[in-house]
């Protein structure tokens, strides 16, 4: 984002125009300039993305130690409410960001995926901490990295990352949201055609998200 610096002479001119506008004396080229300075024209997409980026609803998804630092984000010193994201929703259906804070064990992985699937598009995911991005301090039989079974947009390193670091990650995500209008995650990561479709769901009694050939849309 660039910072636009105003020339002091312009500033004075703007002040005079504002005074004239209030008096009803502004017309012609001055009126045009006045309107131009105060109205943002943009495409609907960009406006929507700007709104989406500034009003992210994270889902409460604390798994382990990183969850405590995520709670610190909500609390005073690093205040996520400054960026519009303080409304942590309990239900995945009402949220659009999943902050995977903590290590994902093999027992939890299908549940994380199920909750991610329950979120409505557009949705994003932040893998907070080293464990969810890349196994972290532990590299063993019991945990999986989040990228193995779901798409992750932003990885925030740290063990646990400082709340400021997570904030930086969320701001990077906000920039991504405002730049990239691809709504479905499958479009964002060129993942169309990677749905695992099984013929007979009965053959997979423990599978969590089983798709039949005709219902692979919206996966």
């Amino acid at each position: 984002m660039e910072v636009i610096r105003q020339d002091p002479a312009d500033f004075r001119a703007r002040g005079i125009r504002a005074r004239d506008a209030l008096r009803g004396d502004l017309e012609g080229a001055d009126l045009e300039k006045y309107v131009e300075e105060r109205v943002l024209t943009t495409t609907l997409d960009k406006a929507l993305n700007w709104a989406r980026g500034n009003a992210i609803f994270p889902a409460t998804f604390g798994l382990a130690c990183c969850a405590i630092e995520m709670m610190t984000l909500v609390a005073g010193h690093v205040d996520i409410a400054r960026f519009g994201a303080e409304a942590f929703r309990g239900s995945p259906r009402q949220s659009d960001l999943m902050i995977i804070s903590g290590r994902i064990s093999i027992k939890m992985a299908p549940i994380v995926r199920r909750i991610y699937d329950q979120m409505l598009e557009p949705k994003w995911a932040i893998a907070m901490g080293a464990c969810s991005s890349s196994m972290g301090v532990f590299n063993n039989y019991a945990i999986v990295p989040a990228d193995k079974f779901m798409p992750v947009d932003v990885h925030v390193p740290g063990c646990p990352p400082r709340p400021e670091a997570v904030m930086h990650g969320i701001l990077k995500l906000r920039q991504m949201i405002q730049d990239d209008p691809a709504m479905g995650w499958r479009d964002r990561y060129a993942a169309r055609g990677t749905e695992e479709v099984v013929g007979d769901p009965a053959a997979f009694p423990t599978a969590v998200n089983v798709l039949r050939p005709e219902e692979a849309d919206g996966a």
Partner: protein, 182 residues
């Protein structure tokens, strides 16, 4: 702690009551330890309860691989009134891993024995609900045994998969052109 003489007295009483119950006594780092035969677990703990050790602090298991018998179970008992601790240990081989469960007498052992079953495969006979507690229900194998591999997954990231970048470079294989593995 029961000191070394106290430990020998306790072991002596146990041997009087039941000759092949006590296998060994050890007084290590100021702590008394009694090794018992596996099928006497409940009786020994009840006896020690009578001696004042009324609190079962911990039940944990371990794998002595490659020494046989491999699987060990240890009971940490605490006497709150006299502030004494004593450890009761037993060992079972993998082909006959049955140990009588102490859960009917000591409810605290419920989850702890399930964990030992889950991680080591020690079967506690008489346990009200012996099933896996930490691993998924259908998991095969007992992870904390010493011959079970540690496991691990290669690290991969979504953007690498999306752009078709080979994510194993630098993880399982060295970067092309670099002398030392990264």
């Amino acid at each position: 702690m029961p000191d070394a003489t106290g430990l020998e007295l306790l072991a002596g009483e146990l041997r009087d009551a039941d000759p092949d119950c006590v296998l060994d006594t050890l007084y290590f780092r100021d702590k008394a330890r009694i090794a018992i035969a596996p099928d006497r677990a409940r009786d020994v703990l009840q006896f020690l309860r009578g001696k004042g050790f009324t609190f079962l602090a911990s039940v944990h298991g371990l794998d002595y691989y490659p020494e046989e018998p491999r699987l060990g179970v240890q009971y940490e008992l605490l006497n709150m009134r006299d502030v004494d601790r004593i450890t009761v240990t037993l060992r079972v081989p993998t082909d006959a891993p049955e140990v009588p469960s102490v859960t009917p007498d000591w409810p605290t052992a419920n989850h702890q024995e399930r964990e030992i079953f889950d991680m080591f495969g020690v079967v506690f006979t008489g346990h009200p609900d012996l099933r896996r507690i930490l691993m998924p229900e259908d998991y095969e194998g007992h992870p904390q045994r010493r011959d079970f591999p540690v496991g691990g997954e290669p690290v991969l990231f979504t953007h690498q998969q999306a752009h078709g970048v080979d994510y194993t470079v630098g993880v399982d294989r060295i970067h092309p052109g670099s002398g030392t593995p990264s």
